[in-house]
């Protein structure tokens, strides 16, 4: 795998990094240990049920909770009036109340919460809350919402954010073009479906502070949010992450703050521990999903196949509240050309309010939508100029020395071409591409490809820092503490693997403590696949300092200077006298005898990304992950059903810290991407979610998964430890466009909208028969 780039001649031999070691949290999980929020509820806990808006866009004339309050068994009812601090639960813009007070903006918006020791009683009392609504005109399509006569959902209008990207002169670029190709692409609401619905509980402490435990991605974001709601200083709000049963994005947005905010108000009012767990339906309606986008593309291309201009207009439906929509459209904007070098680019992205449920963070964060559009469009461009789409891609794609749409120079760490070569070979591309054109019959096979790049680091999304704390106990256990959370990826195990590598110690000495704001420093949010890339650097740095301290003690014990000390697998010796050594445990013992502290606390901060916000030109990310995916499909031309038979996915991930974990991310993300491509769609009708359950919202099961071949390509980057790049998010990006391109190859129709459900495929086939493509 990219040997020529993978190992520098002076690179030290790695013992643990690059090895598929078993992750640390597995044993508890396979034994079904009680580690998740609802498994560890305190005794005598109050349960909350949320009263939600049944109207889509209305003024709240009155909320009468008296009947509910008097219902036998109800202990407490709270409304907006009971919020002691600021009635706000937001991710970015101050647009969303914790509990609606004057207005509701979507069906399902929380208005009140009812507490009882019996959750059934609380649920019964929900219907006793009398709410008077005065309906307002509502708007459900972002295209309608940006019209001047649209009802205003928020005081500042319906555009939460508009961003611009300007590179070169797009008019000039179109003048140079021999062809101009236009297209419009649409994507859907995709529901993240973490298997554990949102849950949390709050324990009121005797000193007036609160302890909040829950399923979440970002404890310090939760702490800030709860402190605001309660009007308490942050240090009086202790937040602990329980084991988290999947997250994929929404658990970094508002939901953990909603859950723990409501519970905290009740806990403080009653002095009782209070829990709130969403049902699956509440979770699917309440939390943020992938933004539906409408993307209009216009590309200028010369006869020789070179792209001269690219214009993109991206409109994202963020629902009733912005959540992280403004940042999602940022990432979407920066990736809107796909991984191609185009001299003249003009892109605009809009984050638009509607009266639909909220969209926000979900694995990929704007990347899947942009790549679906771009990777569909390049096929159409290639078709128009009569060029093989693969050749067209290779002619225009990013290589070292190229400039991205944001005019960032691509350096040597670009393995895109190798990713393509690898997937072509492993998918037997050329044979199949040729063979499948000769089919007859009702079932047709096709093979398609899509390629990508994915900016690493938070970049425009915030300050990129991670704090790590490591302390050695008397028995030699190294306690590793960080507020980065584990929610399934295994990345936190990777942090310990890195620390063990740096310290030349076996992994068994390391123990990961649960993220807790009481003893961790802020590590920023656990999002954007940043645990290994940025957290790994923090781990490397802190482990390096602790290792140095151990070497200093060992040097004193061995009577030499620290620079002479070498270490290997838990033993320290002077370079010239390897026969005299001291063990790790001896060094720890000696430190404790001398009263020396064996702990290091430090924060790694990634370099800042600098770019012009007016033109989006500059450094938007610190490095890129690259990828290529082929999809093989079978299309049933009678039923419209698409079956995905095989996905070959190659990613340039810089350096795989734990190859097995990387493959786990690729396989899991691929299957979510296949779902995005052919079956997953949260359907809204007039603002009401029609399928908020797992019977009507289809998530791929074991019967739906294609054969998957994962290939790792390693062109080390500059940000992550050992050259690592991010891999959590990228695998969800390409399956959808690769599948849609394969459908086109199989039956000759272009689906400009996903998912490729049987009805969409049938309709497209029918339209093609009616209007055959020239």
């Amino acid at each position: 795998m990219a040997e020529k780039h993978g190992t520098r001649p002076d690179a030290p031999q790695l013992v643990l990094v690059g090895k598929s070691v078993e992750r640390l949290d597995s044993v508890d999980k396979v034994l079904g240990k009680p580690i998740y929020t609802m498994d560890i509820l305190p005794e005598n806990c109050l349960y909350l049920k949320v009263v939600r808006s049944t109207h889509v866009h209305s003024l709240l004339k009155s909320v009468d909770v008296s009947k509910a309050r008097n219902y036998p068994g109800v202990v407490q009812v709270i409304t907006a009036a009971d919020v002691p601090g600021i009635n706000e639960s937001t991710a970015l813009l101050p647009d969303k109340p914790l509990l609606a007070s004057d207005k509701v903006r979507f069906v399902g918006e929380p208005i009140a919460a009812i507490a009882s020791y019996d959750p059934v009683i609380a649920e019964e009392a929900v219907d006793l809350v009398k709410i008077e609504y005065e309906d307002l005109r509502a708007v459900f399509s972002p295209l309608d919402a940006i019209e001047s006569d649209a009802p205003k959902i928020h005081a500042n209008g319906n555009i939460a954010k508009h961003l611009k990207l300007r590179k070169g002169n797009v008019e000039e670029g179109f003048k140079q073009a021999d062809y101009v190709v236009e297209g419009t692409y649409k994507t859907q609401f995709q529901e993240p479906v973490p298997l554990e619905p949102e849950a949390g509980f709050v324990v009121p402490e005797p000193d007036g502070s609160v302890t909040c435990v829950g399923s979440m991605q970002s404890p310090f974001h939760v702490q800030t949010g709860i402190a605001k709601i309660l009007s308490l200083p942050p240090q009086q709000v202790r937040v602990i992450q329980a084991a988290t049963g999947g997250a994929f994005g929404p658990k970094s947005d508002e939901m953990p703050v909603d859950i723990l905010g409501m519970a905290a108000i009740v806990a403080l009012k009653t002095g009782k521990p209070t829990a709130l767990a969403y049902t699956r339906e509440e979770s699917m309606i309440g939390h943020t999903k992938r933004h539906p986008f409408v993307i209009k593309l216009k590309a200028g291309v010369k006869k020789n196949g070179r792209l001269t201009a690219w214009e993109a207009r991206l409109i994202a439906d963020t629902g009733a509240y912005a959540s992280l929509g403004p940042l999602v459209i940022t990432r979407a904007l920066f990736h809107a050309t796909g991984p191609y070098e185009i001299p003249n680019v003009k892109s605009d992205s809009y984050c638009v309010y509607t009266n639909n449920t909220m969209a926000g963070s979900f694995r990929g964060f704007g990347g899947p939508q942009s790549h679906f559009a771009a990777e569909s469009h390049v096929e159409e461009i290639a078709k128009r100029i009569g060029m093989d789409p693969l050749k067209f891609r290779r002619l225009n794609m990013l290589r070292p020395g190229c400039l991205t749409a944001t005019s960032q120079l691509i350096d040597e760490s670009c393995g895109l071409e190798e990713c393509i070569e690898k997937v072509l070979e492993a998918s037997d591309w050329h044979t199949k591409r040729n063979e499948y054109t000769k089919q007859t019959g009702t079932i047709r096979k096709g093979i398609g490809i899509a390629i990508m790049y994915h900016g690493n680091s938070l970049g425009p999304e915030g300050n990129d820092y991670v704090a790590v704390h490591m302390k050695i106990d008397k028995d030699g256990t190294i306690r590793f503490r960080t507020a980065l959370t584990e929610y399934g990826t295994g990345a936190t195990s990777g942090l310990l693997q890195i620390a063990a590598e740096v310290m030349h110690l076996p992994l068994r000495y390391f123990k990961l403590d649960p993220p807790d704001t009481d003893y961790c420093n802020d590590a920023g949010p656990t999002v954007a696949s940043r645990t290994i890339s940025v957290g790994g650097r923090a781990s490397q740095m802190v482990a390096g300092k602790l290792h140095q301290r151990l070497k200093e003690i060992a040097a004193r014990m061995l009577g030499c200077i620290v620079d002479e000390i070498e270490s290997t697998n838990g033993s320290y010796y002077a370079r010239e006298r390897p026969e005299h050594s001291v063990s790790y445990l001896d060094v720890v013992k000696s430190a404790y005898e001398q009263g020396l502290e064996l702990k290091v606390d430090d924060t790694f901060t990634a370099p800042k990304c600098e770019y012009d916000p007016e033109t989006s030109q500059g450094t938007t990310y610190l490095q890129y992950t690259y990828g290529a995916v082929t999809a093989e499909v079978e299309v049933d031309t009678e039923t419209g059903k698409v079956q995905v038979d095989k996905i070959v996915a190659a990613y340039d991930i810089g350096k795989a810290i734990n190859p097995l974990s990387v493959e786990g991310q690729i396989e899991g993300g691929t299957v979510q991407g296949v779902g995005y491509g052919i079956m997953e769609e949260l359907i809204h009708k007039d603002g009401v979610v029609l399928n908020p359950n797992l019977a009507d919202y289809y998530v791929p099961t074991s019967m739906d998964v294609p054969e998957i071949k994962s290939i790792l390509v390693e062109y080390p980057g500059h940000l992550g430890p050992y050259g690592a790049k991010v891999i959590g998010e990228p695998p969800i990006v390409l399956p959808a466009p690769a599948i849609v391109n394969a459908i086109d190859h199989a039956v000759g129709v272009r689906l400009s909208e996903i998912p490729a459900t049987p009805d969409r495929v049938l309709l497209a086939l029918k339209n093609m028969i009616a209007q055959p493509r020239s």
């Binding site: 949290d25 396979v30 034994l31 079904g32 997250a247 699956r280 974990s661 797992l694 074991s702 019967m703």
Partner: protein
Amino acid sequence: MSRHLLKFNVNGKDHALVVESHERLLDVLRDRLGLKGTKEGCSTGDCGICAVLMDGKLVNSCLVIAIQARNKKITTIEAIGTSEQLHPLQREFIKWNASQCGFCIPAMILASKNLLDHKPSPTDEEIKQATRGIICRCTGYHSMINAVRAAALEMKKQ
């Protein structure tokens, strides 16, 4: 609402509990017997992660009324392996990285165990069929299929 005496066997131990007619097996296991390994994911029988074995059949415990378990044998994840001695399925799930967030794992392991109890050498297709009712959102299923296949081989050796 009526009350019933539920006599049943859970993980090899006999229990006699008074249950209400509407109580779910899931709640009896989690809240009355403290067996928290069985998870709740949807409460409508769609995700499968509350699955337990009832007389050797995989059932969604959120859809089983507690009294339906009368005189039956229930097996939950707590009966499968210990930290000192993991079941081969548990060992292989760890080895193949088949557990990511872990929330579906108790159900996946019970479904797989049930399969191996009846079919010691399943094909991949049979493994997929046996676990089709349980959603895993993290792994993409391949690592699980690999783990079950490997565990079957291990168990035959023993």
